[in-house]
Amino acid sequence: METGQFLQYLVSGLTMGSIYALVGLGFTIIFTVTGIINFAQGEFVMLGGMLSYILFTSFGLPSGLAILLSVVAAALVGIMLYLLGIRTARKASAVSLVVITIGASIFIRGVAGQIWTRDPVRPPYFSGSESLSFAGAYIQPQVLWIMGTALVAMIVLHVFFSYTMLGKALKACAISRAAAGLVGIDARAMALIAFALAAALGAIAGSVMAPHTTVSYESGVMLGLKGFVAAAIGGFKSHTLAFFGGLLVGLIESLTVAANWGPFQSEYADAVALIALLIILLIRSRRLSTEERAS
């Protein structure tokens, strides 16, 4: 295989991987603060893509403003989900809360399908459509936007949760809500912030991704699943690992297509990625149980 060809597979894998990483980061934010796996995360991505398209084409807003407004709108939906869905049922078990998020995702998808077009749409590129040539491979400028957004999001989240007061307060809630309450942290406010933050991040992912991938009211399902895998690789705890987990899933998919040998064929790209997840989870759970025994 020549270098250019190989690089092309890498670019393809990293593009999808960056999108999965962004979705995975959203899962991780909510889980670290509230202990809930939010299955409506994919819908936030869909909302970002659809809203930025609609604000741009139907309302004629400039691209940047359309994206900003769609991110704000998605954050509001995230807040609503928390206030109406999660907080009203706060005495329910974690599993019930997860089921509520699944219900919310079906609801959001249904409403989107009713009020907007059911056809996939594509907002315009951020910067030009001419592909850049690099060592025999070609890169669409939008792909660089996607990769850059994922990288920046991972770094910002890492810094935010490790070095800022608010970030540490959010993290404290995850470690022990009771103890966090004792030192004066309002756990409910923190959960609210987490949902708003995850929804906003999802919408950013959606609006950056849509010009390259197109988006429809149903896009959230597949992306939610892949993002879930990325977050699971990161154990739902580490932003850095969720980021690399996303890239890994994307790379496994594109290299499976490239291999074109035995079970590694384009037809099984999704299956190979999911089997990889199972293997990683098995290894992780074994290591975790050894650690538990050691302590």
Partner: protein, 387 residues
């Protein structure tokens, strides 16, 4: 005792009044037809225009006096692109709503799933899905209006052969549509002297096909055929220009709607595919027997739904309902007679999908010649008229 007497009296009076009310208004009993389309779910891009077409037709027919004075009542249900849901609403149409005939479903999978129920219930059904298996024997009651995929493959291969392509790559989605296309692309290739050097697939919900295209780019193929609907095809068309791929791209009739051009943008230019004649209705010769019906459907639809473009999927529903309306007009509300009429009297019948010639052996009635080749030029559909 007296109380009961009054209650009884009231019941008797009411019972007497009901038929009187019926006599009071002279309207004849309405004809009920069922419609089951995938208005939501993965096939919503098919079901939505089908439903809109039917709504428009019902309005038009009833505004102009109905069918021989009878109102046409279409009872429509959403199958949600789900076979089980489809079976459920079919049963409801047959048992509760007591319809005379059914049009739909939108997809081959759903159509095959309910076929046995239809045969057992002895009710005429005209499917709006392409698969040839839908009308395969044993089959007494099921018809379909869309052209079969194999005809599209043959038309495409005929064109490619004429242009001297002998080695091609194929790229299909892993859903029902792509799988069906792949089967015919592989089985028909040899008879057109075409060799398939590589067959790639992708998930219908996939969002980046660069990896598959890189595989194809590095083969000896002279051209590649992508068999999928507009969502995936737009991404393929775009990804191919993203990686500077110059190999000619051929698609299927699944891209014959504006979603493809809108999403692929300038990358759609140069894409060639077989399509029903609706797409280029205004470019057809006046002598074409389908031209009048195509233009009528297009104008009616676009007048009713401003800003929307009529597409072939809505056209399938248009043909289906027109056949049933004609049958109702000729033979009245009798399921068996409606079936017989469609089977025996729909001959040289111009529809949006082609010239229909139904017969006991062929419940689709379309043959070669119902597809034409279309190229996207400057964001417009252009008919590649055979010279």
């Amino acid at each position: 005792m007296r109380k009961w007497f009054y209650v009884l009296l009231a019941v008797v009076i009411l019972a007497a009044a009901i038929p009187l009310a019926g006599v009071g208004c002279a309207e004849k009993e309405s004809y009920k037809v069922g419609a089951i389309f995938a208005e939501t779910g993965v096939n919503s891009s098919l079901g939505t225009p089908e439903r809109q077409t039917v709504d428009m037709m019902v309005k038009k027919i009833n505004d102009t006096g109905g069918i021989s004075g009878h109102k046409l009542e279409v009872i429509a249900y959403d199958t949600k692109s789900d076979s089980n849901e489809c079976a459920l609403v079919t049963a409801r149409l047959i048992e509760q709503d007591q319809v005379l005939a059914i049009i739909g479903p939108s997809s081959t999978g759903e159509s095959n799933f309910i076929k046995q129920t239809i045969l057992d219930s002895e009710i005429p059904l005209i499917s709006c899905a392409a698969g040839a298996t839908i009308v395969a024997a044993p089959n007494k009651w099921v018809f379909k209006t869309p052209q079969s995929d194999v005809l599209a493959v043959r038309e495409l291969y005929k064109y490619m052969k004429g242009k001297g392509f002998t080695k091609i790559a194929i790229l299909t989605d892993t859903g029902g549509y792509g799988k069906g296309g792949k089967t015919f692309l592989e089985s028909e290739a040899a008879s057109f002297g075409i060799t398939i050097v590589t067959a790639e697939t992708f998930d219908a919900a996939g969002t980046d096909m660069t990896a598959q295209l890189t595989n194809i780019k590095n083969t000896t193929a002279q051209a590649f055929v992508c068999w999928t609907t507009s969502q995936g095809a737009a991404i393929v068309a775009k990804n191919r220009t993203d990686i500077n791929m110059t190999m000619p791209l051929f698609c299927s009739h699944g891209v014959a709607n504006m979603t493809f051009i809108n999403n692929a943008g300038s990358s759609a230019n140069g894409v060639i595919f077989p399509a029903g004649k609706l797409l280029v209705a205004d470019q057809l010769d006046d002598a074409d027997p389908q031209k009048a019906v195509l233009l009528k459907y297009k104008t009616d639809f676009e007048e009713e739904y401003s800003g929307k473009t009529a597409d072939t999927f809505g056209g399938h529903a248009y043909d289906a309902l027109n056949m049933i309306v004609e049958a109702l007009k000729e033979v009245g509300p009798d399921k068996a007679k409606i079936r017989d009429y469609i089977e025996n009297e729909i001959k040289e019948w111009p529809g949006t999908g082609g010239m229909f010639n139904m017969s006991p052996d062929d419940h689709n009635g379309l043959t070669e010649g119902c597809f034409i080749m279309v190229e996207v030029k400057n964001g417009e559909w252009t008919w590649l008229k055979p010279s």
